[in-house]
Amino acid sequence: MAKTKLANDGMPKSLVSRFQRIMIYIVLVIGAFFSLFPFYYMFVQASQPSSEVLRFPPHLWFGSSAWANIQGLFANGFGRSLFNSAFIAVVYASLSVFIASLAGYAFAKFRFRGRSVLFGMFLLVLMIPYHVTAVPLFQLMAKITFFGNPTWISSYQAVILPALANPFGIFLMRQSMQALPDDLLDAARMDGASEWRVFTKVALPTMRPTLAALAIYSFMFQWNSFFWPLIIMRDKAMETLPVRINALVGLSIIDYGQLMMGTALTTLPIMMIFIAFQRQFISGALAGAVKG
């Protein structure tokens, strides 16, 4: 019976699935083309002299002005912005991972009064758009005057501090810390280790994969961030890359070659980190969604 039924289907099963498979590959390759082409176009235009970027018909192959565009950018303060972005993102990533692991450890491994209220408070803020804080934060930064600066407007700390207690990071660290066996921590306590030692020498080293994922996520968040740096970095010397590039868009004569080169140079480091640490990147993205 079964055999006749197969024959009645008209086509052998393997042929059907081969046809389907080819269709699927075609769909996937078209998707991949759309996914990659804008990047390719960015690099192509970044290598064109400004006058050639908006030429009609558009260039589809690399030009010879990549180096000239880089020089033009750096002559216009791009190096300083690159440093600002890198410095802010590295300091932010290190500090926010540290703070999140401290807090996540407390939430995961201790029972204390106010635990669920405090944790709920962190989670609630995930729902509040960060734009709400912009006006009072700006006023706050304008009021603070210690550390020699006239105010904190256009300062590194003004960009680094506000998002430092990252609720997503705290949530992520709590989730991973919960898997840590209490016996392991108690054994260290029995040996006379202080709470601080238990945390740094026992708990943290087992968290390396999560710490790496969170550090990469935080670095990328800060590197790509635009809204708040645009508001607070009003001094050209303190601008981060996105703010600097936005300033190029605002000029009366836009140098599109430089603009695209700046965009490419901002995108490239993240792309390289992504290709090197693909697994951590994706687990960072998933942690926010699937485990929630």
Partner: protein, 298 residues
């Protein structure tokens, strides 16, 4: 255990243990309190102060003005319009790609996953600028290709409807791969036995998708819907850089209006009211989606 039985040293030890979690929480709480909680409360307070006479005390002026403000209404309808088109489009595409990529017989699955995820690591401002070139009205590549196909150039960035469509395209490009990766992980957690049992009952691919995949992925679908909704309601970088909110405010979003009001017109009280209405709208949408998901479960 009566605490009066403890020696002073033991009591000190216990006291310290009780204090420990708060010490670990201290840095997060300090930063959180100063740079999140204080601004959130302060913003609410600002929104109830009149811009014109700041010392007149509690006032509904800003909210009253908001309800009659045509520009705000435009920003709101623009943002909701984006949401209604872009969230289903982006999530539907992500689902299709995830289901296809979940096929075990395919080769190069990790390569495709990497390629599709790549836009999701790109800075939003970069996405906006690249699409600004691609969609340039007179000299963009998209119009060049259209002309080649015998279709007239479309004013992608300078006309109301095409500009909205351009925004949706750029956002969909940026986020589809991100959601696809989330769906892919969720798909892989569905036990194969469920599909095998359905196959024995003679279910086809379409039936299996609706009777097994979708119900099993309900929590993930809900979560991505809520996250994309919140994200779209707060959208700033793309309209600010891709379309500059134009033409004539046709792609103005609530967040770009907030920025303009607070930092270009310096109307901080009115801007705070806009911010709080945004909070309310986001909360309402999230709640609605959770409710709908719950009702679907019954």
């Amino acid at each position: 255990m009566g605490s009066q039985m403890l020696t002073p040293a033991e009591r000190r030890h216990q006291w310290r243990r009780r204090l420990t979690p708060y010490m670990f929480l201290l840095p997060a709480l300090l930063v959180f309190g100063i740079f999140m909680l204080y601004p959130i409360v302060s913003s609410l307070q600002l929104s109830f102060e009149s811009q014109l006479n700041p010392n007149s005390g509690f006032s509904f002026d800003n909210y009253r003005r908001l309800f009659g403000d045509k520009v705000f209404r435009k920003a709101l309808t623009n943002t909701v319009f984006l949401l209604l088109f872009q969230v289903p489009l982006q999530l539907g595409l992500a689902m299709v790609l995830a289901v296809i990529l979940n096929n075990a017989v395919l080769k190069f699955r990790t390569v495709f996953r990497l390629i599709y995820f790549l836009p999701a690591i790109t800075a939003l401002f970069a996405v906006a600028l690249i699409f600004r070139l691609l969609l340039n009205d007179e000299k963009g590549l998209v119009n060049y290709v259209l002309n080649g196909l015998g279709i007239q150039s479309v004013p992608w960035l300078s006309n109301a409807w095409p500009a909205k469509f351009s925004l949706i395209t750029a956002i969909t490009w940026r986020w589809t791969g991100y959601n696809m990766v989330i769906y892919l992980a969720s798909l892989q957690s569905i036990p194969d036995e469920l599909y095998e049992a359905a196959e024995l009952d003679g279910a086809g691919a379409w039936a299996k998708f609706w009777s097994i995949t979708v119900p099993m992925m309900r929590p993930t679908i809900l979560l991505t819907t809520v996250l994309s909704t919140i994200g779209t309601l707060q959208i700033f970088d793309e309209p600010y850089l891709l379309t500059r909110s134009g033409p004539s405010n046709e792609t103005l979003s609530m967040a770009t209006l907030l920025y303009r009001t607070a930092f270009q017109s310096a109307e901080i009280n009115y801007a705070s009211a806009i911010a709080y209405v945004m909070v309310l709208i986001i909360a309402a949408f999230s709640l609605l989606q959770f409710r709908l998901a719950q009702r679907g479960e019954d």
